[in-house]
């Protein structure tokens, strides 16, 4: 009899996500080139870089929207198992405990805010399709429980009063919050935020910074974010990874990154004096 070979992966203590030699090419373009970094548990990790540096590509590789990346993405999932995310289908990534937002807010316009948040709880529903079609008592109970949970999340984000609004034509700040609420429904271990502050004004950005820290403490999760708003990044991140043209420039604390010569060159150009 053949034995099923189970590959085992290792992860250092206190690390939740370990990216090893990640590369991704589109035709001749190397969008991500041999990138490695690690995210610790309960850490807010920033990924920065000039436009076109490949930040969103890294996100899409982690969440398996791009399947052809090489390298390893090792993650400690919800059940404490250590897995390689590259072997997980895109729609099963959330089951492992990773959930993301999108750069151009992807809300469902036909649904209300509350229902949008409930989409985030899709994997938490245990009823079968059959039970659902005939709407047995268990369905109502489960739906009500998750509705209550969604309301709690909305209250936490301060948008519970708007729960019955359609997610269409909402102010940008609210849309972003709804998307955040949707990620929180699945009790994730790692939240990936793609430019959470894009399109927000200064006050909203400051609020968001507080919110991100609060989320980390309340849900005991790690947060990986891509952001162009440097004030926000420097304010909330514990650790920052700067990349340019898919290559790693520097990893360090916000202070180290601010003082790094290479990062300054990548953003502002070199002076030949």
């Amino acid at each position: 009899m053949m034995k099923k070979i189970v590959e085992t992966y290792e992860l250092a203590e206190g690390i939740v996500l370990d990216i090893k030699n990640l590369s991704m090419t589109f035709g001749g373009l190397r969008a991500v080139d041999n990138l490695s970094f690690q995210i610790k548990k309960n850490q807010i990790y920033g990924l920065i870089g000039p436009n076109g540096a490949g930040k969103t590509t890294v996100f899409n590789c982690i969440t398996q929207f791009y399947k052809s990346a090489t390298g390893e993405i090792i993650f400690e999932n919800k059940n404490g198992e250590i897995i390689n995310l590259n072997k997980v289908p895109v729609d099963k990534v959330i089951n492992q405990g990773i959930v993301r937002t999108f750069q151009n807010v992807e809300l469902i316009k036909d649904l209300t805010i509350l229902e949008n948040v409930l989409v985030g709880a899709h994997i938490d529903f245990k009823v079968t399709l059959f039970e659902e079609v005939f709407r047995v008592g268990r369905v109502r109970k489960e739906e009500q429980a998750l509705r209550d949970k969604a309301m709690e999340v909305l209250k936490f984000l301060g948008i519970d009063a708007m729960k019955d609004f359609l997610a269409f034509g909402l102010p940008y700040g609210i849309s972003k919050k709804v998307e955040l609420a949707r990620t929180l429904m699945s009790n994730p271990k790692l939240i990936i935020l793609d430019e959470p502050a894009a399109g927000l004004n200064d006050t909203e950005s400051i609020q968001l910074a507080h919110l991100i820290k609060e989320i980390k403490d309340r849900y005991q999760c790690s947060i990986l974010l891509v952001e162009h708003d440097m004030r926000l990044v420097m304010d909330v991140c514990d650790q920052i990874c700067a990349i340019s043209f898919g290559k790693l420039l520097e990893i360090g604390t916000p202070k180290q990154i601010q003082q790094s010569k290479i990062v300054q060159e990548a953003y502002l150009g070199r002076t030949d004096e």
């Binding site: 895109v90 990534v93 959330i94 992807e106 229902e115 899709h122 009823v127 659902e132 739906e143």
Partner: protein, 356 residues
């Protein structure tokens, strides 16, 4: 005394707001129609037309799940309806099996074929899916003509009104009630599917595929689920068709029927159960019940198609989500007119007071 009246009133209004109660009342309303025929208010031919409206509604509810909620276009509805109708007729007429057994088998066979077709074709989307389902429908249509031993070919296949175990042989009016009950059951099922997790998953899939996937929704699985549902609905409509109408012909299952069903949900309302029924009444009922009785207009050949085409154009121009959403506007107009009248009377009162 006053208060208890008020409490009762609010209780009744909340009860009426429950869709299940609404559907139940609708069922009662529909079963009154045959009685109207018996006392001579409605003609027997009108009952036939209203029955067809209901049969079309069942299939259209299924297509609405597919197109309205999940954004998948199918032109194969009629093919699956026909398959189910012929299966029922074959099992009841030729094999002599009980109606209920035939009903169940007639749903399972199209469903099995539907799932196979779905598995192959649901990887493609938009226009191509519509073409794929059209091909399947055409294949089925061709088979209906070719296997004339079973289908009766061009002569048609009769079945007669169903003979149900406990109820015995049904009359036409009783069959009408049966169709009404099946319709209401399918309305309730649609409502259950749509309002829960599956409905949200379908709308998420339609709204943003990447968001849906990130939230753990397996696109192919949910497409297959809706396609399966649409097939079950179409099959049930087919069974009701052969139960209610005396004879079926291969030509009954052509592209026109699929397009009519598409027109029903476009005109009536995407993502709306009542809209589907309204659309069905407009596309199937209005031309046959009303237009044909109007002098001159009624004599124009092809008036139903002209009417449907005109309605599609008008609805897409003014109510792109369907005519059912006219309700909001009616309310708005009502409020506007009410306010206007109130303003006028206020003005008059003011003038009177000043005059004093």
């Amino acid at each position: 005394m006053e208060q208890s009246k008020l409490v009762l009133k609010t209780k009744v209004t909340t009860l009426l707001k429950s869709p299940y109660i609404q559907y139940g009342l609708f069922a009662v309303l529909l079963s009154i129609l045959p009685m109207l025929q018996e006392i001579g208010i409605l003609k027997s031919s009108e009952i036939t037309i209203l029955g067809s409206v209901m049969v079309y509604s069942i299939a259209a509810l299924g297509l609405n799940l597919l197109l309205g909620y999940s954004g998948l276009a199918s032109l194969g509805t009629a093919g699956f309806m026909g398959l189910a109708a012929y299966t029922t007729a074959y099992f009841v007429q030729d094999l002599g099996l009980p109606y209920i057994v035939a009903f169940i088998v007639s749903i399972i066979i199209p469903l099995a074929i539907g799932i196979i077709v779905g598995f192959i074709s649901l990887r493609i989307e938009g226009m191509y899916l519509a073409i794929g389902t059209l091909i399947v429908a055409e294949i089925l249509l061709k088979s209906f003509t070719q296997f004339s031993d079973i289908t009766g070919g061009g002569i048609g296949k009769p079945m007669g009104y169903p003979n149900i175990a406990i109820l015995g042989q049904l009359t036409k009016n009783q069959t009408f009630t049966l169709v009404a009950i099946v319709l209401v059951i399918f309305m309730i099922l649609t409502y259950n599917i749509v309002r829960g997790r599956t409905g949200r998953a379908l709308m998420a899939m339609r709204g943003s595929e990447s968001a849906a996937q990130a939230m753990g929704i397996n696109i192919l699985k949910y497409r297959l689920i809706t396609f399966g549902f649409a097939t079950i609905f179409a099959a049930a409509a087919g069974v009701m068709w052969i139960s209610f109408l005396p004879r079926i012909y291969p030509n009954d299952w052509g592209l026109t029927v699929s397009l009519n069903i598409l027109a029903i949900i476009v005109i009536g309302g995407l993502k709306s159960i009542w809209g589907t029924l309204l659309g069905s009444f407009i596309v199937i009922g209005v031309p046959n019940l009303i237009l044909k009785n109007i002098p001159i207009i009624g004599n124009i050949p092809g008036i139903p198609n002209i009417f449907t085409g005109l309605m599609i154009v008008l609805v897409i121009m003014y109510y792109p989500y369907g005519l059912i959403y006219i309700g909001h506007d009616v309310k708005k107009w009502y409020r506007y007119i009410k306010n206007y009248i109130q303003k006028l009377t206020n003005k008059k009162n003011n003038i009177d007071e000043v005059g004093k």
